[in-house]
Symmetry: C2
Amino acid sequence: MTNRNSLRTKDVPTQVKNQELVDQRRLQIVNAAVRLFIEKGFHKTTTREIAQAAGISIGLLYEYVASKEDVLYLVCEAIHAEVEHGVTEALKRVKKGRDVLAEMLREYFLVCDRMSDHILLIYQETRALPQQWRKRVLENEVKITGIFVETLRHLAESGDLPHKDKQSIELIAHNISVLGHMWTFRRWFLTRHYSIEDYIKLQTDFILGKSAGKHSD
Amino acid sequence: MTNRNSLRTKDVPTQVKNQELVDQRRLQIVNAAVRLFIEKGFHKTTTREIAQAAGISIGLLYEYVASKEDVLYLVCEAIHAEVEHGVTEALKRVKKGRDVLAEMLREYFLVCDRMSDHILLIYQETRALPQQWRKRVLENEVKITGIFVETLRHLAESGDLPHKDKQSIELIAHNISVLGHMWTFRRWFLTRHYSIEDYIKLQTDFILGKSAGKHSD
DNA sequence: GTATCCTGACTGAGCGCTCAGTCATTACCC
DNA sequence: GGGTAATGACTGAGCGCTCAGTCAGGATAC
């Protein structure tokens, strides 16, 4: 995982003066912690294990964070940065072509596929964060959903999407986000029946409205 | 919460002979634990707190379960039983009328609304279960999704739903499940913008395919 | 009397975090 | 340049405490 945790990271206190060093060490720490948290979960991972996996001493770990929860927060921020980066990069590639929505969905689902474990981690361990930071992590979700809202709005304005009011568009954006996540937290079941390509195709049809029912109203 | 945890519950060992008593005590324990787990999470809740809230001693608690994780398992099973009961009850009411799918969605989303905290709990704490039981809890999710699969299949056969292959129907069932859950795990955001009635209406439109895009293929 | 249910003081493993001390590097002085 | 002082990154043994789980013994029912 690359270091995109530049902004929010500043809120986590450190004893170390050299900012470059802080970034580098925290990158080590986050990478180690992500691996361990995915493997055994936050609660069953000890601070010593994190330190060891990061290649530093337990004492030094606490020069760079004030608590174990700080580590989890850094991890969550890093994951979000990664996802957001993935999505915006994908969007750039897509915007030029046609069939923007379908292409966007495809790219997004692929990001979710790649980041499965990480996204799952956020669903499972956010609760362990202190109130204030939990809130921030949740707002990151909204931020990513916001990217979809923007795209959908553009499409609606340019007429490539049936007119929708703001409320509908926003909810559809949430649906897209969550249906991407569904691939991560029901992966254990879904992969038995669908490849990621199946999944992309079927979900795209569903979201684009090729899907269900006739109405009697 | 009523006691619907009759089957799977037998797998959790107890020292107490009187089965009635076991059921009654475990009900106390589960009710107490649910409340505490929702409030502070599994890891921050002590076994003592559970015992006290259940009105029994710590020693007695361990006559009815073998570990703290047992309690979590009982809680998960109870919640699932409750949700399943809610859904099947709702379905019975619905099947007679018309517009079955829309009515089913409505009832299901209302169940999710009522059981918000409980469903969220399962998302957040399943990880803390030992492997084998985690699997069972996950399979309960599939079971509930299965109810939707059944209903959709009936509708498809009776022609009230455009023909869909098995794969599509199954995935739509999963989507419905998860979009219900979304109301619980994004509740903190969604309630700012939508009432549950708004949510039901918009999601129903979305799922029934009144929703999005035109295609260029 | 004995089988069963129940109590709560007790144990000890485990873990987050600290802090006294080490060492490499830099800054400063003459 | 060489001697000295200051800085701050780094170490890891161990402290303090929490908390799941136990067990010896008491209460109750029949």
